[in-house]
Symmetry: C2
Subunit: 402 residues, 2 copies
C-alpha cells in the first residue's frame, strides 16, 4: 500500500481523490501496488466529504509523516507551492503536479532536487491536461530527433475561436458566454493574452531541447485582436485561426512563440474544436504525430496526475528521468523563419499592400466586408519591415505550413 498526500483540495485535487477512489483496481494494476490518500492539505474544512477526516491545515503533518511517499501538488501558483515542493522532495517524498506556473519558473531546480534525493518530480498534468504528451516525449518518442512541436495548448481560447467561427460572433460576446459557462475565468487575461499557453510551450521546449526555456523570454501574443471578420477571411483562405504554442529547432537555435496562426484546413490541428487541446510533434523518423484530448477539466487533469503517481510507485527507489535541465536553451531570433503571412485590410490600402509584398495575392471572400491578402513565403523580419511602412492593415497573422 502506497500512501499519498494531496496539497490543495480544489478542482484538480478533488479530482485526484476521485480518480484514486473510483479507479482503485486500475490504479493498482498500473502502479503495481494499492494507492490510498492519507492526508489532504487545505485551508478549508470539508464537512460531509468522504475524505473529511484526512484534511489537515498544517503542511508539517504531511512532511513529518514518513508513511506518505508521494505528494500531489495541485495548489497552483508559485507560492507556497514552491516551498512545499522543495520541502517534500528534501524529505524524500516524490512530487507530481499540475502546476504549470511553478514548473515553468522553477522546474529545473525541482527536477535536480528530486534526483539528489532519489525521488521524482513529474508534471504530466501541467501541459495538455489529460493528453499524455510528456510521457510520450520521454518514452516512445525519446529515440526521435524532434525538430518541431506545435500545439493548441489552451482550451478557453480554442473555445472562443471555435465559437467565433461557428456563430460569426464578436470576441467580447463569446468571451462573456465562455465566462458564464465557466470555460473562462473572471479575469481571463492569462488565457486570452496567451500567458497560459506560453508556460506550456516553454515546458515542451525545455523537454525538446533537454534544457530550460524561460517562459518570460517567449514572445507571446493573445487572441484579443482577432475579429469575426478574420475568421471568415481565414475560411476563404482555406484555413482557420488557432492560438498555437510553437517551437521549432533552427540552425540559429530554438524559435519559440505563442501567437494566433492561420492553420490550413487539411492540417490535423485545424479540426481541433472547442475546449479540446492537441499537440503535433514532428520527428525525423516518425514524421508528424499528434496527440489530442481534453486540455483541462477535473477528471482529465486528475487522471494525468494519477498516471504520474503510478509511474512513481512503479519506479519506487529510482528517479523517473525528466529531460529538463538548468542549461538555458539557445533561442533563435523570431525574425529568421520563412513563412507566409495573412493580412486583413478594409480595402483602403489594398493596392499598395499587394504591390509592397511581391508575390502576394488577394483572396476573394463574398461574405466579407474586408479583404484577405496572403504573402508569398518570406522572412518574418522582412515582413515586419515592409509592414511598418504600410497603412490600411487592420490585422495580420502568421500562416502555419501544411
Amino acid at each position: 500500500m502506497t500512501k499519498i498526500a494531496i496539497l490543495g483540495y480544489g478542482t484538480v485535487g478533488g479530482g485526484v481523490a476521485h480518480v484514486i477512489d473510483e479507479n482503485a483496481d486500475r490504479v493498482r494494476a498500473s502502479a503495481g501496488d494499492d494507492v490510498a490518500v492519507k492526508a489532504i492539505l487545505d485551508l478549508r474544512d470539508f464537512p460531509g466529504d468522504p475524505h473529511e477526516s484526512q484534511v489537515t491545515h498544517d503542511f508539517r503533518t504531511i512532511l513529518d509523516d514518513s508513511e506518505i511517499r508521494v505528494v500531489c501538488e495541485t495548489m497552483g501558483g508559485v507560492n507556497p507551492a514552491y516551498d512545499f515542493t522543495k520541502q517534500a522532495l528534501e524529505a524524500g517524498k516524490s512530487v507530481c503536479t499540475s502546476n504549470k506556473e511553478l514548473v515553468a519558473k522553477h522546474g529545473p531546480e525541482l527536477v535536480e532536487l528530486a534526483k539528489k534525493h532519489q525521488v521524482s518530480y513529474l508534471f504530466e498534468a501541467s501541459v495538455g491536461g489529460g493528453i499524455p504528451i510528456l510521457r510520450t516525449l520521454e518514452g516512445a518518442l525519446k529515440s526521435e530527433k524532434i525538430d518541431e512541436i506545435a500545439g493548441i495548448l489552451n482550451g478557453t481560447t480554442n473555445y472562443i475561436l471555435t465559437q467565433m467561427e461557428e456563430e460569426g460572433a464578436a470576441f467580447d460576446d463569446v468571451l462573456k458566454k465562455a465566462q458564464e459557462l465557466g470555460y473562462a475565468e473572471r479575469d481571463p487575461s492569462a488565457d486570452i493574452e496567451g500567458h497560459d499557453a506560453c508556460r506550456k510551450i516553454a515546458i515542451l521546449g525545455s523537454l525538446m531541447t533537454e534544457g530550460y526555456v524561460d517562459s518570460e523570454k517567449v514572445p507571446t501574443e493573445g487572441i484579443t485582436k482577432i475579429t469575426a471578420e478574420d475568421l471568415k477571411l481565414a475560411r476563404a483562405c482555406g484555413a482557420t485561426v488557432k492560438l498555437l504554442g510553437s517551437c521549432r529547432q533552427t540552425d540559429e537555435g530554438l524559435e519559440i512563440m505563442v501567437a494566433p496562426f492561420l492553420v490550413p484546413t487539411e492540417h490535423p490541428l485545424a479540426s481541433v474544436r472547442g475546449v479540446f487541446n492537441a499537440i503535433a510533434v514532428h520527428g525525423n523518423m516518425l514524421d508528424t504525430s499528434m496527440y489530442y484530448g481534453r486540455g483541462a477539466g477535473r477528471d482529465a487533469t486528475a487522471s494525468a496526475v494519477v498516471a504520474d503517481v503510478c509511474e512513481i510507485v512503479k519506479n519506487a527507489g529510482k528517479t523517473v528521468p525528466v529531460s529538463m535541465t538548468d542549461r538555458p536553451s539557445k533561442l533563435a531570433p523570431a525574425g529568421d523563419t520563412v513563412r507566409r503571412f495573412y493580412l486583413r485590410t478594409d480595402g483602403s490600402g489594398k493596392a499598395e499592400i499587394l504591390s509592397a509584398f511581391s508575390g502576394s495575392t488577394e483572396v476573394p471572400c463574398e461574405a466579407c466586408d474586408a479583404s484577405a491578402i496572403l504573402t508569398a513565403p518570406m522572412k518574418e523580419s522582412s515582413f515586419l519591415n515592409i509592414l511598418s511602412g504600410l497603412a490600411g492593415v487592420k490585422n495580420w497573422m502568421r500562416v502555419l505550413d501544411e
Copy 2:
C-alpha cells in the same frame, strides 16, 4: 553496448538499421546504453549495403550468439516468424516485432513464453505504425477504465476513401492509382477487405480487455461496396466515410468489428486524411483522447520497433508487462448496439424505406443522383431485420456517435 539482430531485411527491417544508425545518440539517451546491430537474417545478400557483412542466411548463428540480447522480427507472416520468435525467447532473447499477423494469432503464447524466460515480447509497431498507442495504453492510460477504442487502422483504405471524396472518383480507379503509387499492394485484398484492420483491432481489443480476442471471430467488412455517390451523400449528411476498427465494452461483452462508418465531420477521426492513421480512446476519467500519425512507411514503423528495443534495454533483466493473456475476451453479439444507420437508395423504394424505419429522415443532396436516408437510433438487429424485407437499398453503413 547492447547487440541486436534483425530478422528480415526488407522495408521495415532496413528501416530499423537506418534508425539505429541515424539516431544513435538519441537511441542511447532513450535506452540508457549504446545499441548496435550485430546480425541480420535474410535469404538475400546485400552487396554494397553498410550492413552487408552482418547478413546471415542461418538463424542459428543469431540464436547461438549469446551477445545478441534483442531480436527485431520484421519478417511478417506467421511462418517461420513464429518458430524463430519462440526459439529466440526460449534462448533468453527479447523480441520486438511489427508482425501483426503473428501477434494476432499467437500473441498470448509468445507473451507468456517471454515472461517465463524473463525477457520481453513487444509489438508496438504492429498497430498504427509510428503511433505509440500500445505504450500509451500500457502506461499513461493504464489507470483508466477504457470502454471504447475506434481507429482508422489502415492507411491504404483511408487513402482510397480520401481520394474518392476529394476527386469524386470511383473505387476501382482510385485503387489502381494507389497501386501505381505503391500505397496499395498488387493483391490489395488484405487492405480493402478489412483483414489488416481486423488484426489490429483484435490486438487493441485484447489489450483493452486484458485477454485475447481471436481476430477470426471479429466481424469484418471492407470498403469495396463504397461508391463515390456514398461519399457525396455522406457529406450531405455532415459526415465522411471511414473504415474503422471499433471495440466497445458493453454489459454483454466486447462488441468488436471492422466496418465502414459514417463519421460526423466534427468527430476528430473525420479529419484524418490520406495514408494517416488515428486511434480514439475513451476512458472513464480522460474522456476522449486521440493519437494520430503515419500508420505505415519504413521509418515511422521502424521507429516504433526501435522504441520497443529501447524499452527492453532500459528494463534489462525484467519482463516489460503486456496486458494480453490467453483468457478469451467475452465478445458481445453485434446486434445489440443502438446507433443510427445510413442507407443509399436510387429512389425507387424511397417512400417504402422511410415508412419502414420510423423516425428516419431523407437528407437532401443536390449534387447526387441517389438519396440518403438516416434512421433514428435503433438496435442493429432490428435494423437488419427490417432491412431484409426491403427492396431498393443500394448500400448501408453504421453511423458513429458524435
